[in-house]
Symmetry: C2
């Protein structure tokens, strides 16, 4: 039975809806933006999972709750969430915040549209194209194509799919069985999404051939691969590796790709933002020779999760040919405007979030200048940290950093001077997990650690938050000394 009035529920009242949103906005300003970015507050409020479940009362019931309860729930969600904008959150490749980017994200959420047709996303179809054009210009391309993807892993997958389609267009219809066995090349330092992607795309992880980073790029195509009958089709180089922040030598790799007719993909998800810096962009010299580039402005540029661009040098409409399926209910050809603007058929998603506005608005506010200053400052602070770290006993660099990842061991008092003991490495590797537990339970800071190759656990400090100062670097070192003084 149809009701002639709108839904009779709490949210049917526009005034109540506005009041709720106003209150939630106030909570966000107080708890996330003020307290959540204040060094005098905790970066996290650790709870054991079972206790947290009780505190949150997660169960979804039949009966709805009043606004006051909903507001209390928002407070609890924020209270027990990690404050990734906090100046002591060093844990991931993203941290900190930009008010313009956040404004763009809130506007995006309120407009709630999908990035597939000019019909329902006129502003964002044009804006995405403009933002991608700017990113391409920084790569060094005056033309090309691209799209925002839900994360760098999927951008990398796109590159692999496009490369195989370009070489074997039959693949789309007939599948991999109609093709010779394929091989793609990358380094041991590549992001794990390359292997995940190879599995997902049906190539299998065996198709990923690992080139040792100390091998010369010209040895990239080993005769072993050719003997096995696999056809090399793509090289994935990395600009800014996840742990060490290393940059592959793109010019040399591009030479090899050119010689052998291979698609060159550059996974610059992390390092791409360095292109903004006149001082440091030489780290990516040669990137303009790539066929595709993955670049995540949600990392160093604090655009907000997720903002992940796949950029292409291609001007032959490869994206649309590779992924298009011309769904007639969405991409009607008899529309009254130029249907080339309906860019949704370039992707394997149907509905797709708007990821351009946050970056666009931040860029408008900061200008390329402001963003460049951020990148330069991150480098400068990372170098400051390295210098300070060298002055202190008990800190040992894993390597001189190329980028803003500063990797080091904290050697606690009981292990200092005992490098020659047979169990030194084993004992040192146990230090980081203990300190991590202590810092998280204290809520004083968060920093990641990992083993790497033959190296035992070490810390990876990431200088990404634009609000960081030298004082935060000093704090990091002091706090590790404090937390580890009894070890």
């Amino acid at each position: 039975m149809a009701d002639s009035k709108p839904l009779c529920s709490r949210d049917g009242d526009p005034m109540a809806a506005e009041a709720l949103l106003r209150d939630v906005f106030g909570i966000i300003v107080d708890e996330v933006i003020r307290k959540g970015t204040s060094a005098s507050e905790k970066v996290c409020e650790w709870k054991e999972p079972e206790e947290l479940k009780q505190l949150l009362d997660l169960e979804l019931r039949n009966q709805g709750e009043a606004s006051e309860q909903i507001l209390a729930r928002c407070r609890a969600v924020i209270r027990y969430s990690v404050k990734t904008c906090h100046p002591r959150f060093f844990n991931q490749l993203f941290s900190g915040w930009d008010p313009h980017a956040l404004a763009g994200r809130i506007v995006t959420e309120s407009l709630n549209t999908s990035q597939y047709t000019y019909e329902i996303a006129p502003v964002f179809v044009l804006m995405e194209e403009e933002v991608l054009k700017k990113l391409r210009a920084l790569v060094g391309w005056s033309s090309g194509d691209g799209v925002f993807c839900p994360g760098g892993s999927i951008s990398n997958m796109y590159a692999v799919n496009l490369a195989r389609y370009q070489r074997y267009p039959d693949c789309k219809q007939r599948g991999l069985r109609a093709l010779p066995p394929l091989a793609l090349f990358t380094s041991k330092e590549c992001h794990y999404s390359i292997k995940k992607g190879a599995a997902f795309l049906g190539l299998g992880t065996d198709s990923v051939r690992i080139v040792k980073t100390d091998e010369r790029p010209s040895q990239l195509l080993s005769s072993a691969c050719l003997l096995q009958g696999a056809v090399p089709f793509l090289v994935s180089a990395t600009s800014g590796t996840t742990v060490l922040g290393a940059f592959d030598p793109l010019e040399a790799i591009a030479d090899v790709c050119q010689r052998h007719g291979l698609w060159l993909h550059v996974d610059a998800a992390w390092g791409g933002s360095v292109l903004l810096s006149q001082t440091h962009r030489h780290l990516l010299d040669g990137i303009q020779r790539a066929d595709s580039v993955a670049w995540n402005p949600h990392k160093l540029l604090t655009a907000g999760l997720q903002c992940s661009a796949l950029l292409l040098r291609d001007t032959s409409n490869l994206l649309r040919r590779c992924h298009g399926s011309q769904a007639s209910y969405l991409f009607q050809q008899d529309k009254f405007y130029d249907v080339a603007l309906d860019t949704g058929d370039k992707v394997v998603q149907c509905g797709r979030r708007v990821d351009c506005l946050k970056l666009w608005l931040m860029w408008k506010a900061q200008g390329g200048q402001g963003l460049e200053r951020r990148v330069d400052q991150a480098f400068a602070l990372a170098w400051y940290l390295v210098e300070e770290l060298k002055k202190r006993e008990g800190f040992e660099l894993v390597m001189e950093p190329e980028f803003v990842n500063v990797c080091f061991w904290f050697v606690p008092p009981s292990l200092r001077g005992r490098q020659k003991c047979p169990d030194y490495s084993e004992r040192l590797a146990k230090v980081a997990p203990v300190l991590k537990e202590r810092m998280v339970k204290a809520g004083s800071m968060m920093i990641g650690y990992q083993p790497h190759g033959t190296r035992g656990n070490f810390f990876r400090m990431v200088v990404a938050n634009p609000a960081l100062t030298r004082a935060d670097m000093d704090f990091l070192l002091n706090e590790l000394e404090r937390l580890g003084q009894d070890l």
Copy 2:
């Protein structure tokens, strides 16, 4: 050179940042929430692409802009964007809004974390599990697994990838070439993402075998397929097709799958929300026999883009086995808490947006009851529309709807009574595009149209916005009559 102060830019000032956000929030309340949902305002403000580019001044420059300019940009972005929450936006399978869901989305954006580890997303790891458990319970499963994906297309791809991995675990490492040729079955009415997914996953679109919807499900596995040597491994049924809103007979299809040992995937991206309604959930009878279900609460439940769950009956950790790669920098095994909580290795993404909070908060506020009422009201309003449409001259139903998609032709005065003319269908097919242009340029409403099989363009009205009333249905019919009176 390191600077001892935070970034010297406009956003370095916390008061200015707060003021900007407060102003943007005010603009959102005025322009999106009040005017954007008011029937007396336009649903869209059509501009030709070239004019819109001028109006938006999209170019990204080196110099930043002051706050007042940024606020003006927010206003322009909103002004020229389509108002998908407007009561006259009937264009997609999503429309309307829920203030609690929007509150959840804004909190999500402000917290800006990634859904991969308990370490940095403790609240959301637990919350996602609880929300998925609730959705599984509605499917009829007391255990299982699942994950939120960036849209239904990727949920469907996951299902296909999981099905092939379950049957041939070798695939992950050795790829599709190590497997026999595979075939999956679906109907002509399936979403286009099934074919897109088959291409992306390396199976090729040829591996998708289309079963005619008027065939009996038992004829699903044609001998032709078996003769070609392809191994059937999955059937994808649809609950709520995109255009017609039809529901496949799941019990009968499940019988076939059971008999032949096939994975049954149900693409309930659109229809899944009907499970909330005691009155209508019979449309999905048999769904509990599926192996996987895709369900998008961002559609009928207005959770906000994107909220797309892939639900699995599996309890053997298939997701993690199929997609996991144990990246040591993220999923360290020596953490101080139960690393089973680090759910990020279940997916092919690395960073993944938090998509659970918006649905959780809305559910807490509305209760299952409130959401059920919404679903029932949408059905009731769709039936009201059908009855009204039948009373009027010039409207012709494509078929009696099963769901809230009401598909119909508007037959303009000049074509009435001329069904027997040889060019009738051709002329009728040209009506919808003309009316679409007129309504968009007037900004009076937006409704989709498409051809379908042998049928020429017809309108697809979608009753999804929970704020709709009978008056909006009457408006739709009146407006089409008004716009088309001279045709």
